[in-house]
Point group: C2
DNA sequence: TGACAATACTGCAACTTGCAGTATTGTTCA
DNA sequence: TGAACAATACTGCAAGTTGCAGTATTGTCA
């Protein structure tokens, strides 16, 4: 078990740098904010802190509440050092995973209704996430931030999420509008609209290059 | 080895539905287009078709070229049926993985220069990807699509990528502008600008609700 | 024609997920 | 008040996935 430090390790260190948390609390916090930039399974969130302890980047101490004993994790100086060092490294490129877009790419294997439904689903998911982020953030105006001194970070972070979800919703409307003109999903090739979209891309590009 | 059908299985089936490919060709195709919606490792792309064969969704036949024998995979009727069935199911929500955003969330553990550099890196990656997608797509105007009858799908798919990359580039400019006003990464809390951003979010939201 | 890059893979350890299962703690309602 | 059932707070494990090192053939340029 060589155990190298992954991005997930650093994400957990980032949370521990704020304050000590129990394993369960870490999963809760990760669901609240972290997942929008680094979505990881609950399972991993429970496992990872143990690795940090093994590596000396965090400490664990048992805190018995009734019958149930909870492990509270805290960051060490080594942990803070590792976190600062990581902040200076180059981040990995952003990556989007979207099953609905995958279905668009292979839409010829289904009906126009199928692809419309997939896009609707993506837009509904985005609308849902928009609501969640907007609700949490507007709450900060009423002093509901658990770490008020971090509000500037949370909010700037949230602006990206909101713009992304907004983009998805708007793009789905555009895409459905296109697809509505298709008699079928298959074999259309270079339609007039496709050609005009491509010309727009080409023109915008030549403008950028000047 | 129970071997269930994953989204990645269906992604490969989607490629095989277009035409038969060798393992290597599948990895090339996946890098070209598939990765923008469903980014998977080269390693998996080599392994997955073998599973499809085991499940009877694809066939494999050896095609010796010189000393080297390549396996050509082709979809079966069962494979096409599985693909059509999958097109009718609800897609998973879209997910973004962005290490640079993770650093923003924990920016207090580094300098303003650190976070600026991370954001620059994200914008540069987006600019790069924009170029790649735009180049491939404008090429379609000159008849460079390997499967001309699929142009309508490729192009509509690409419009999302381009908008996303454009959003990233624009948002990074906005975020850097904000951060430029910060004396430090830490402890700023609810600044005037943070408050005005939140008010914008709140107002836009109340408009949407009417 | 030998060197070196590019192509076309495989093996394996470690990372990650999904899901089933377990055991406390909290709540509800007869 | 105590039985039932939901919510909380986890663990075990098989299977899915990645990264990287390694290998062998093919192409190319001097």
């Amino acid at each position: 078990m060589a155990a190298r430090l992954t991005t997930s390790s650093h994400a957990l260190l980032g949370l521990l740098a704020i304050q000590p948390w129990t394993g369960y609390e870490l999963t809760q916090q990760a669901t609240r904010s972290l997942r929008f930039a680094w979505p990881k399974s609950e399972r991993l969130l429970y496992t990872e802190p143990k690795k940090l302890v093994q590596l000396g980047l965090a400490t664990a101490h048992e805190d018995a509440i009734g019958q149930r004993s909870r492990t509270v994790y805290a960051i060490t100086d080594e942990g803070r050092a590792a976190l600062s060092a990581w902040m200076k490294t180059t981040p990995k490129p952003p990556v989007l995973e979207a099953e609905a877009l995958l279905r668009l790419l292979f839409a010829e294997n289904g009906t126009t209704d199928d692809i419309m439904a997939a896009l609707d689903s993506m837009a509904a998911d985005a609308a849902d996430l928009y609501e969640q982020v907007a609700t949490i953030n507007t709450g900060y105006l009423d002093g509901e931030h658990p770490f008020p001194q971090r509000t500037h970070l949370s909010v700037l972070f949230a602006t990206f999420q909101l713009e992304l979800f907004d983009l998805i919703i708007r793009w789905v409307a555009f895409a459905k509008n296109e697809i509505a003109t298709w008699p079928t999903t298959e074999g259309l090739g270079m339609t007039d609209r496709t050609e005009s979209i491509l010309n727009e891309i080409k023109n915008r590009r030549s403008v950028l290059e000047l």
